[in-house]
C-alpha cells in the first residue's frame, strides 16, 4: 500500500510512519495526549501539527505520566503519554511502576535514538525498553516503520486486556521519519490473554462455603471498579447482610455511605473494618492481590477462616494467601454466577453488622469530641467533603494526608477516588488531578496533597491556566514528611531525623505565581467558604491548611507485619475488637 499523499500544491509528500500513526490515533478517538517533546520524539509531535488531538504540555514527564494514569482510571481507556529518549524516558520510570502496581492502563510512546547508533551511547540514548521491562505489562521496540501502527494498536489493546496496566512503545527517530511501505505487521506478534470464564463448579463450591459461614465478610479490591461490578458486590452483600471491607483501591469501588460498608481495613484502615476481618469465619475477597498493607500478618489472616479469592489474574491466586477456593475470572461475571446460586431467603447475621456499626459510631463520636487545636486533619476532610458534590473526583498524594483520606474521605460515586496505593508515589496527587480534569472537564476535581508531596510535582500547576483546568488543591501543610515522622515516633523511639522542613516556600505565593488564588484559612468556616466558592465559580484554588505536626498522628494504625488485632488506637479511644465477648 502506497500511502503517499498529494498536497495542496500538487507535490507528492511522503507519509512518514509518524503521520500515519497520528492519523490512526485520531481515528481511534484519542483526542488528548500528555507529554514533553525532545529531539528523538520531535517527528511524532510534528505529526500532530494541525491534527484533531490536543497535546497537554506538562512541566515534568513524571507529571505527564501520572496524568495519563489518572485519565485511564477515570475513562477506563488508556491514557497516552509521549516523551523523548534518555532523560524524557527515564523520567517516566516512576509513573510506569505506579500504573503497574495500581493496574492502571496507559501507553507510553518514547522517542529513541536512530537505529544506526543503537548501543553506541549516542546523545540521550537510554535502553528504556530494558529499563522498563520489569515494571510494565509489555514493551515494544519498533524497528520497522510498517510496525509502528500495529505496535501502537497492540499496546493500546494490551493496556486493558485482562488486568489493566502500562505498555511502552519505543520508537527510534529514523523509524518515525521513514516512509511506510506496505502494511506489514510481521514483527508484531502477541498472545493476548483475554478473560477466563469462571469455573462454575468452583463458583458453586464457593457459594456452599458462603452459606455455611456464620460471619462472612466481603473484601473488595480495586478489581471491582475495573470490572464495573459494584452492583453485583452490593447485591451479594445485601443478600447475606455481609459487611463489606475494602483495600485502599477498593474504597473507590463501594459507595462509602452504604449501610454495609465498614471502610478500608489494614495498616491505615478503620477499626470497624479490622474488627470485621478479625471476627470473620469466611472472607470473600474480590479483585484484590491481598497486599501486606491490608492484611498485615498473612499467617494470622489464614488461621481459622475460609477464604474465597476471585481475581482476573491467575498469578494472584495463592500468591500471598492460600484460599479455600480460588476462582480466576472477571469479578462481574463471577459475582453474577454466585448471585444466581445464593438462595433468596439466605440467613442474615444482623447482630454482627450491628456490632460493627456500634464500633463505627463510637469511633466517630470520639473524633467529634476530640478538639485538636488548629486544624484537625479528619475535620478538614469532613468540611471539604460537605461542600464538594458527591460526584466530584478526588486525587491524593502519599503520606499521612492520604491515610487520613483513606480513613475519613467518603467516596460516594465509585471510580471517583484516585490514589497511588501500590507504589505509594509522593507527588502523584496534583498531576493525577490534572489528568482527571482533562478526562472530565465538567466535574469538580480536588487534590488532597501533602506539603512534601506537592513540592515533588508542583511545577505542573502551570497547566491549570495554560489549559483552563480549574482544580482545587488542599495542602495539608504540616512542614514535615509526616508519615515517615510518624514511624520515627512510634517505631524509632522518637529519633526524628531528615523529615522536618525548616523553610517551606509560601504556597500562597506559589499559587499566585501560576495565576491561581491561594488561601490560608484560619478556621473551618474560612476553609468551607473558600472551597465552596471555588467549586461554585469553577475556579482553581490552592488551600494551604496549617496542621500541627506534633499532633498529626494518623491513627488507628497497624504496625507493618502485625495482625489487625494489634492495632494502635488513638489516645483515649478504647474498643473491644473480639465479637462474642458479651459486647455485642
Amino acid at each position: 500500500m502506497n500511502q503517499n499523499q498529494v498536497n495542496q500544491r500538487g507535490v507528492i509528500t511522503v507519509v512518514r510512519a509518524v503521520d500515519a500513526l497520528a492519523d490512526e490515533i485520531v481515528k481511534m478517538n484519542i483526542k488528548e495526549v500528555f507529554g514533553i517533546p525532545g529531539g528523538q520524539i520531535m517527528p511524532l509531535f510534528d505529526a500532530f501539527y494541525g491534527k484533531d488531538a490536543k497535546i497537554f504540555l506538562f512541566r515534568h514527564e513524571q507529571g505527564a505520566i501520572h496524568a495519563a494514569d489518572a485519565y485511564g482510571r477515570v475513562t477506563k481507556r488508556p491514557g497516552v503519554v509521549m516523551v523523548t529518549s534518555g532523560p524524557g524516558a527515564t523520567n517516566l520510570a516512576t509513573g510506569l511502576a505506579n500504573a503497574m502496581m495500581d493496574s492502571s492502563p496507559l501507553v507510553a510512546l518514547t522517542g529513541q535514538v536512530p537505529t544506526s547508533v543503537f548501543g553506541r551511547d549516542a546523545f540521550q540514548e537510554t535502553d528504556i525498553v530494558g529499563l522498563s521491562m520489569p515494571i510494565v505489562k509489555h514493551t515494544f521496540m519498533v524497528k520497522k516503520p510498517e510496525d509502528l501502527i500495529p505496535a501502537f494498536k497492540a499496546a493500546y489493546r494490551i493496556a486493558t486486556d485482562g488486568r489493566p496496566g502500562p505498555v511502552l512503545v519505543d520508537i527510534p527517530r529514523d523509524v518515525q521519519l521513514s516512509e511506510v511501505k506496505g502494511n506489514g505487521s510481521g514483527g508484531i506478534n502477541v498472545n493476548y490473554k483475554g478473560v477466563p470464564e469462571p469455573d462454575i463448579g468452583l463458583v458453586a463450591y464457593a457459594v456452599k462455603l458462603l452459606m455455611e459461614a456464620k460471619r462472612p465478610v466481603m473484601l473488595v479490591g480495586g478489581g471491582v471498579c475495573w470490572s464495573n461490578s459494584t452492583e453485583e458486590a452490593l447485591a451479594i452483600a445485601e443478600a447475606l447482610w455481609m459487611p463489606i471491607v475494602t483495600t485502599l483501591p477498593g474504597k473507590n469501588c463501594i459507595p462509602n455511605n452504604h449501610p454495609l460498608f465498614m471502610g478500608p481495613a489494614g495498616m491505615h484502615g478503620r477499626v470497624e473494618a479490622d474488627a470485621a476481618l478479625i471476627n470473620s469465619d469466611l472472607v470473600l475477597a474480590v479483585g484484590t492481590r491481598f497486599s501486606d498493607r491490608t492484611v498485615g500478618d498473612f499467617k494470622e489472616f489464614q488461621r481459622g477462616r475460609r477464604i474465597i479469592h476471585i481475581d482476573i489474574d491467575k498469578s494472584e491466586i495463592g500468591k500471598n494467601v492460600k484460599p479455600s477456593v480460588g476462582i480466576i475470572g472477571d469479578a462481574k461475571a463471577t459475582l453474577r454466577m454466585m448471585l444466581e446460586l445464593i438462595p433468596k431467603a439466605a440467613v442474615k447475621n444482623e447482630a454482627f453488622v450491628n456490632w460493627l456499626k456500634s464500633i463505627k459510631e463510637a469511633y466517630e463520636k470520639f473524633r467529634e469530641q476530640d478538639d485538636m487545636p488548629g486544624f484537625a486533619p479528619w475535620k478538614v476532610l469532613k468540611v471539604v467533603r460537605e461542600v464538594t458534590p458527591p460526584y466530584a473526583i478526588t486525587a491524593t498524594s502519599v503520606g499521612s494526608h492520604q491515610m487520613w483520606s483513606e480513613l475519613h474521605w467518603d467516596v460516594y460515586v465509585p471510580g471517583t477516588f484516585i490514589t497511588s496505593a501500590g507504589l505509594g508515589t509522593m507527588g502523584f496527587g496534583l498531576p493525577a488531578a490534572l489528568g482527571a480534569k482533562v478526562a472530565k472537564p465538567n466535574v469538580p476535581v480536588i487534590d488532597i496533597d501533602g506539603d512534601g508531596s506537592f513540592q515533588m510535582t508542583m511545577q505542573n500547576l502551570a497547566l491549570v491556566r495554560e489549559y483552563n483546568l480549574p482544580i482545587i488543591v488542599v495542602i495539608f501543610d504540616n512542614s514535615t514528611l509526616m508519615l515517615v515522622r510518624h514511624w520515627q515516633m512510634l517505631l524509632y523511639s522518637r529519633r526524628i531525623i531528615g523529615v522536618d522542613f525548616q523553610a517551606n516556600p509560601d504556597f500562597i505565593k506559589i499559587a499566585e505565581a501560576y495565576g491561581i488564588d491561594g488561601v490560608r484559612p484560619s478556621n473551618y468556616d474560612e476553609l468551607r467558604s473558600s472551597v465552596s466558592r471555588a467549586i461554585r465559580n469553577n475556579e482553581p484554588l490552592v488551600v494551604d491548611v496549617t496542621i500541627d505536626r506534633e499532633r498529626d498522628l494518623v491513627l488507628p494504625w497497624v504496625q507493618p507485619g502485625k495482625w489487625l488485632a494489634e492495632v494502635t488506637l488513638p489516645d483515649g479511644f478504647k474498643v473491644n475488637l473480639r465479637y462474642g465477648d458479651g459486647n455485642e
Partner: protein
C-alpha cells in the same frame, strides 16, 4: 526444597526481549536457578530452566510467566536431575 524443570516456549521476534522478559520474572521468584538451556528456531525460543525451590513458588513463577504477551507455553515438571553445565568447564580452562 525440590528440583524442578520449567519449560518455556516464547515467540521469536528476532530479539532477545522475550527471553529477557521471562528471565526478569524468574529473577523475582524465590527459586535458585541451577541451569538454563536455550534453543531457538525461526518461530520460537525454547528455554528450560532448572530450579530448586518449593512447588508453590515454582507454580507462582509459571503463573507469572504465563501472563507475558510473548509466551506460547509454560509448564514445569518435578524431580529432574540438573544437567552438568558444560560452560563451567570452559570457564575453568580459561581461568
Amino acid at each position: 526444597m525440590n528440583n524442578y524443570k520449567i519449560s518455556i516456549t516464547l515467540l521469536n521476534d528476532g530479539s532477545v526481549d522475550p527471553l529477557v522478559r521471562a528471565l526478569n520474572v524468574i529473577r523475582r521468584g524465590k527459586v535458585n536457578v541451577k541451569s538454563i538451556i536455550m534453543s531457538s528456531n525461526q518461530n520460537h525460543v525454547n528455554v528450560e530452566v532448572y530450579v530448586e525451590g518449593i512447588e508453590d513458588e515454582v507454580n507462582w513463577v509459571c503463573n507469572k510467566l504465563n501472563k507475558l504477551y510473548d509466551i506460547v507455553n509454560v509448564s514445569y515438571t518435578t524431580s529432574i536431575s540438573i544437567p552438568k553445565v558444560q560452560s563451567l568447564q570452559v570457564g575453568e580452562r580459561n581461568g
